[in-house]
C-alpha cells in the first residue's frame, strides 16, 4: 500500500475529518484511482475501526468521528466512482415515528450507516406515516428504518408499516426497526424485515439486508 493510502486509513482511525478530506484530494491529485483510494484507504481504515470497537479499544464518539471522516472522503470520490450506486452501500430513509420526539438512537444509527457507506435521508422525529411513504416515493430507498423509545409510540411503527403496504410500496423496500422497548418478537409481529438491538447492530442489519437482496 502506498504511503498516502496508509495515511488516509490512519486519518479515519483517528477521526481526522478535515485531514482525511485533504489526503483524499492529495491522492487524487497524485493520480491514484478513486476505487483504489476507497478500497485501500478509506475502507481499510473503517474496517480497523470496526475491529477496535468490537475489542473495546475504541468508543462510540471515536467511531462516529471516524464514520464522519469516512463519509467526507467518500463524497469527494463519489463523482469519480463507476457503477450506478457510485460506491454507495445503498440508500436508507430513517426516522423516529409519529408521537415520539426521542431521536438520539435514530441519529446514532443514521451516523453509523453513513459511515458504512449508505446514503441516509433523515426524516427527523415525530414523523407521521405519510412522511415515510412520501419519502419512499421521492427518494426510492433500499431500506426504511424506524425508531421509537416509548411503548405507546412503538405502535406507530405498525401503523407506518401498514401505510407503506397500503401505498403499494412494501415490496420496494426492506423495513428495519429499533429502539429501547422494541425486540425481535415485536419486529416480526408487525412484519419488519430486520431489527437492531443497538445502534451498531442496526448498521450491521442494514448491511445484511442489502447483501441478502
Amino acid at each position: 500500500m502506498s504511503q498516502i493510502l496508509e495515511q488516509i486509513a490512519t486519518g479515519i482511525i483517528g477521526g481526522d475529518i478535515q485531514g482525511v478530506e485533504k489526503l483524499v484530494q492529495k491522492a487524487l491529485d497524485e493520480g491514484q484511482e478513486a476505487e483504489t483510494i476507497l478500497q485501500n484507504g478509506l475502507i481499510v481504515g473503517m474496517a480497523e475501526v470496526g475491529k477496535r470497537f468490537k475489542a473495546a479499544q475504541m468508543f462510540i464518539p471515536e467511531v462516529l468521528r471516524a464514520a464522519k471522516s469516512m463519509h467526507g472522503g467518500q463524497e469527494l470520490l463519489r463523482p469519480l466512482l463507476a457503477g450506478d450506486k457510485a460506491g454507495r452501500a445503498g440508500k436508507i430513509v430513517i426516522g423516529t415515528v409519529q408521537g415520539d420526539l426521542h431521536d438520539i438512537g435514530k441519529n446514532l444509527v443514521g451516523m453509523l450507516c453513513e459511515g458504512a457507506g449508505f446514503e441516509v435521508v433523515d426524516l427527523g422525529f415525530d414523523a407521521p406515516p405519510d412522511k415515510f411513504t412520501e419519502a419512499i416515493k421521492t427518494h426510492q430507498p433500499d431500506i426504511v428504518a424506524m425508531s421509537a423509545l416509548l411503548t405507546t409510540t412503538m405502535r406507530a411503527m405498525g401503523y407506518t408499516l401498514k401505510a407503506i403496504e397500503e401505498a403499494g410500496l412494501r415490496d420496494k423496500v426492506k423495513v428495519m426497526v429499533g429502539g429501547a422497548p422494541v425486540d425481535a418478537e415485536f419486529a416480526e409481529r408487525i412484519g419488519a424485515d430486520g431489527y437492531g438491538h443497538n445502534a451498531v447492530s442496526g448498521a450491521e442489519v442494514a448491511r445484511n439486508l442489502i447483501e441478502a437482496g
Binding site: 446514532l108 405507546t152 443497538n198
Partner: protein
C-alpha cells in the same frame, strides 16, 4: 451551660461549595434566559408568556426574576399522606430526610417464581405494591414496569388501579397523558373523600418526564398542567445521558437538567403557586461502548448528589436515583452497584430516591432487587444517623462503673441503647458457619428470593374503603369504554 456548641445529628457529606452552587445556579438562569427551551404545547406557552417569559415559535426563554419568583413560591417542606391515615406511611419532605422507592416503566420484569425475565403484566403491579407496603425501608411505591397485558392506552390506569388498594404508602403515579392522569386522580380522590379533602391531604405524586436536551414535550407539559390544576404534587424530571443528550461533564449535565426541570417548576407555580414540586433528573452517563444509559455508574451517584445540593440550595426537594443496576440478575454486581448508589443517595439527603429495583439499565424491573436494597437502605440509614454525643452517650460514668476487666452485658446503659444504637439485618447472615451450614448454606440471593415470596404470599395491606373499590371498578369500566375503538 454550653455556649456556641455545634451538634451534627447526622453524617456530614458535601460535594459542592456555596460558591460552586451559585456558579451552577447562574448557569441554569443563563440557559433559561439566553438559550431557552422548546415547549411543544400551545397553552403552556401562553401561560408561560403570561408569567413573563419571552416566546418565539416553540422557543421559550424565561428571565431570572420569573424563575426566582417560582422558586420562592415552591415549598421546601411538605407532607405526602398515606391514603389510610397511617402516620407511619406519611412522607415528610424536608431537610435531612431521604425516602426510597421503585421506579416506573421498564418493559420487562423478573418473575418471582420462575426468576425468568418476561414482559411485565398486571399482576406484577399487585406484587410490587404488596411487597413495597411491607418493606420497612421503602417509603413510596412505583410499579417497576409498564403493564403489557391490557389495552396500551390503559397501562398506567390499570397500574394505579391495581397498586392503590395494595399499599397505603404514597404512590408516585406515572401516566401517558391527560385521560389516564384523570383516571388515576379520580381513584385517589375517591379514597380521600373528594377533591377538597385530597388537596388538604394529597395521597399521591404525579411524575412527568420531558426530554433532553431542552425540550418540554406535549405529554410532559400536559401532565404538569393537569397536576397543577388538580393540586397534585408533581415531579418534572428528565433522563439525560452525559455525552449523548447532555454535556459530558457533571457540572454541565446538572445545569442542563436543572433548566429542563425548572420549565416545569415555572409552569406549575404559575398555575398554582405553592404546589409541591420536585426538581428532577436521572443523571447518568451514556456508556460509550455498550451505548446504554448506565444505571450502575459511579457518575450517576456523584451527579445525583451534585443535583441534590443544587436543588436544596434553590430551596426545593429533589427526585433522586439509586438502588439500581446494569446487571441482568440478582448477583454481586447488582448488590455492589445498588448498595453504593443507595448509600450515596442517603448521604446526600435526596428527598425521594427512585429506581430502587431497576436492573438491566432500566429495561427490567426486579422486586427482588428492591427487597435486597431494602437491606442496603436500612444499613445506610444507620450510618447516616451519625454519632450522638451527650452525657448519656459519652458513657464515661458507665466505663467507670465497669472498670478494667469487667463487661457491659449486664449494664443498664447497654440495655437502654443496644436496640436503637445497633441496626439488625433482615437478610445479611451473621450466624456462625455451623448454623449457616445446617440451614442449607444459602447465599444472599436465595434469602432475598425466599423473603420476597413470603411477603408477596402473606402480607395483608390495609384495604381501601368499600366505596373506593366500587369507584375503581367504575373508573376502569369507563376507561375501557373510552379506548374500545382504538387499536
Amino acid at each position: 451551660m454550653r455556649a456556641n456548641y455545634r451538634v451534627n445529628s447526622g453524617v456530614r457529606f458535601e460535594v459542592l461549595s456555596k460558591d460552586q452552587l451559585q456558579e451552577m445556579f447562574d448557569g441554569v438562569l443563563h440557559v433559561m434566559d439566553k438559550i431557552g427551551l422548546d415547549v411543544h404545547h400551545d397553552r403552556a406557552r401562553e401561560i408561560l408568556a403570561g408569567a413573563g417569559a419571552r416566546v418565539e415559535g416553540k422557543r421559550v426563554q424565561i428571565p431570572p426574576h420569573v424563575v426566582k419568583r417560582s422558586l420562592a413560591t415552591a415549598p421546601r417542606s411538605f407532607t405526602i399522606y398515606a391514603r389510610d391515615g397511617n402516620p407511619a406511611h406519611d412522607i415528610h419532605i424536608g431537610p435531612g430526610r431521604s425516602h426510597f422507592g421503585p421506579g416506573p416503566t421498564p418493559p420487562n420484569f423478573i418473575d418471582i417464581e420462575t426468576l425468568e425475565r418476561r414482559p411485565y403484566v398486571r399482576d406484577d403491579a399487585r406484587i410490587v405494591a404488596t411487597v413495597c407496603d411491607a418493606l420497612p425501608n421503602i417509603d413510596f411505591c412505583e410499579s417497576l414496569g409498564t403493564i403489557s397485558d391490557v389495552h396500551t392506552d390503559l397501562a398506567a390506569s390499570y397500574e394505579f388501579a391495581t397498586m392503590f388498594p395494595k399499599t397505603s404508602k404514597p404512590i408516585v403515579a406515572w401516566s401517558y397523558g391527560w385521560d389516564d392522569s384523570n383516571d388515576i386522580h379520580q381513584i385517589a380522590v375517591a379514597e380521600a373523600g373528594g377533591q377538597e379533602a385530597f388537596e388538604k391531604r394529597p395521597n399521591y405524586v404525579h411524575y412527568c418526564e420531558p426530554l433532553s436536551p431542552l425540550v418540554s414535550t406535549f405529554e410532559a407539559v400536559d401532565k404538569v398542567i393537569f397536576a397543577a390544576e388538580h393540586g397534585v404534587p408533581v415531579i418534572f424530571t428528565t433522563c439525560a445521558l452525559a455525552g449523548g443528550t447532555a454535556p459530558v461533564t457533571p457540572a454541565g449535565i446538572i445545569i442542563q437538567t436543572t433548566a429542563e426541570s425548572f420549565m416545569g417548576l415555572v409552569l406549575s407555580q404559575t398555575i398554582r403557586p405553592g404546589l409541591p414540586f420536585f426538581m428532577g433528573g436521572v443523571l447518568s452517563v451514556m456508556d460509550m461502548s455498550a451505548m446504554i444509559l448506565t444505571y450502575g455508574a459511579p457518575e450517576l451517584s456523584l451527579m445525583m448528589a451534585g443535583a441534590t445540593e443544587l436543588a436544596h440550595y434553590c430551596g426545593i426537594p429533589l427526585w433522586q436515583t439509586g438502588g439500581c443496576t446494569d446487571s441482568k440478575c440478582l448477583d454481586e454486581q447488582a448488590s455492589l452497584e445498588g448498595s453504593l448508589s443507595v448509600f450515596f443517595s442517603a448521604l446526600s439527603g435526596g428527598d425521594l430516591c427512585h429506581d430502587v429495583g431497576y436492573t438491566e439499565s432500566g429495561m427490567t424491573g426486579s422486586i427482588l432487587q428492591t427487597v435486597m436494597m431494602d437491606e442496603a437502605i436500612g444499613y445506610s440509614r444507620r450510618i447516616c444517623r451519625g454519632i450522638e454525643v451527650n452525657e448519656e452517650t459519652l458513657a464515661v460514668d458507665v466505663i467507670q462503673d465497669v472498670g478494667p476487666d469487667g463487661h457491659y452485658l449486664y449494664h443498664d446503659h447497654t440495655m437502654r441503647h443496644f436496640k436503637t444504637e445497633f441496626w439488625y439485618p433482615n437478610l445479611c447472615d451473621r450466624r456462625n458457619f455451623e448454623e449457616w451450614d445446617a440451614d442449607g448454606q444459602k447465599p444472599m440471593r436465595d434469602r432475598v428470593v425466599e423473603r420476597t415470596r413470603e411477603i408477596a404470599a402473606t402480607h395483608e395491606p390495609s384495604p381501601v374503603r368499600p366505596e373506593t373499590e366500587k369507584a375503581i371498578a367504575e373508573i376502569m369500566e369507563a376507561a375501557e369504554e373510552r379506548v374500545k375503538d382504538k387499536s
